[in-house]
Symmetry: C2
Subunit: 250 residues, 2 copies
DNA sequence: GCACTCGTGCTTGTGTACAATGCGGCCTGT
DNA sequence: ACAGGCCGCATTGTACACAAGCACGAGTGC
């Protein structure tokens, strides 16, 4: 069991629930980051006690964080058997992508109508960060930041339920990308993000949606979901056997 | 404060997470049911200790249940100030309905392609139950069952992320209906549900989607979201003042 | 008479101890 | 030697006790 947890680096920016720093959120954000940046491999056991020691908090806090992560689908909670990093099957990946396509379309249309100048400025800044990460060679941060771009876009759309759903979809997508990405191409090209912002700023709904749909095409064309990527990752291959327990996910 | 909690009637069917009966799920399902059937009014405080005594479990269990309910949006968790039954504002209601329209459309299309004979049979049975509830005059159960119909439809669509999102949307919709419904008309007419099943069984996607869209129209035409329903419900009127604290919403 | 402040009580937040459950190794019998 | 069952260990599930924070009310000064 290769626990490659690292001993509590700085809180970074805490990505998502970045507001106020209740212990709870800090732990959540750290584990979340670690998973998305692939410092924690799919299938890795997440022991409550071990995590508690690492973060210097009791199991109570860890448990809440894991619960949240499970809700978003990046962690699998197996009754009486602990939590593991989720390893989405190909079928699950397809379902996530289908849902994302639908949501991104709606979000794009809403963003065209509702995004403010501030929203757009922030979005541009995020694309900058993303580009920086890639040029720095930090693939993990790149994956995470490109996800956060899509999340920020959802916020610009000003629809609370969609934001929260998007949060979950983006998390899972990042996990899928980390697991299935073929080659080392930039997976979520910032150029496309930039063009998208331009189209939204121009309030050109048709163009924006079009760009977004192509963007989605590009993302999943870069994954090899068609053949189960062979013996590359034994865990992923048998994950559906190992972890299909009693979750709500069919 | 009028705690109209009633002392632990039978588990009923536990509606949603009906599988296995861990204490956790039981408590969750009971509170969920009580809220959707309007035995718990929006704004009602949900004290952990009180609930614990009622259900005969410790606060730990209650807390998890409340956390799940908060995730679905039917309960509002205010840090250090306890949980209350959510009372969605008109704006929140609009956002939920927008999202639902989008999701129901996708679900309908998927269900046309993926629903099995078993799915359809179960759906028909649920519509029966729904009709029975209304003829019995049990409005609360009717609201809940019509919601469960839409949830079952999502399951027939065979897309896990959509199912879980739909669960949250249906819950919130039920709450909104309970809060804003004008008059006493049957709000989610079973006739429309039946026609929808027929169209799906006939694999007529265009018709099915059409019916679903009209169904959505009917639902929100029955609500008076346009004027804040006057002094009818003092709680609802001032809820945005009382509860807008630090939630992730917008 | 009004407003501000301080004290008190209740509710929630967190840590920890104990119980229950599943897992793996060991032993025994065939 | 291998299969099956038994027992001990580790990890999670639950409850409880203590700490902290907020709300309400009484009292006092202006």
């Amino acid at each position: 069991m290769n626990e490659q947890l690292q001993p509590l680096k700085k809180p970074s920016r805490a990505g998502k629930a970045g507001r106020s720093g209740t212990q709870d959120d800090i732990v959540y954000a750290h584990i979340f980051e670690a998973i998305l940046e692939q410092r924690l491999a799919p299938g890795t056991k997440l022991s409550e006690e071990a995590l508690g020691e690492i973060f210097g908090v009791s199991r109570t806090i860890i448990r809440r964080a894991l619960s949240r992560l499970a809700h978003e689908g990046v962690v699998l909670l197996r009754p009486n058997r602990g939590a593991v990093v989720a390893s989405p099957s190909v079928e699950e990946a397809r379902q996530v992508f289908f849902a994302r396509r639908m949501v991104e379309k709606a979000i794009t249309e809403l963003a065209v109508n509702h995004s403010t100048a501030d929203d757009l400025a922030e979005l541009r800044k995020m694309v900058q960060d993303e580009r920086d990460s890639f040029s720095r060679g930090d693939r993990g941060a790149g994956i995470r930041l490109s996800g956060e771009f899509h999340l920020k876009l959802a916020e610009a759309a000003k629809n609370a339920p969609l934001i929260s759903f998007q949060r979950s979809l983006v998390s899972q997508t990042s996990l899928i990308i980390a697991q299935y990405e073929s080659g080392n191409r930039s997976h979520c090209s910032y150029d496309e993000h930039m063009q998208l912002i331009d189209a939204i700023e121009a309030r050109d709904a048709a163009l924006a949606v079009n760009l977004m749909m192509h963007h989605m095409d590009h993302i999943d064309s870069k994954l090899n979901l068609d053949e189960e990527s062979a013996s590359d990752d034994l865990h992923a291959v048998f994950s559906h056997l190992l972890q299909t327990k009693g979750k709500n996910q069919r």
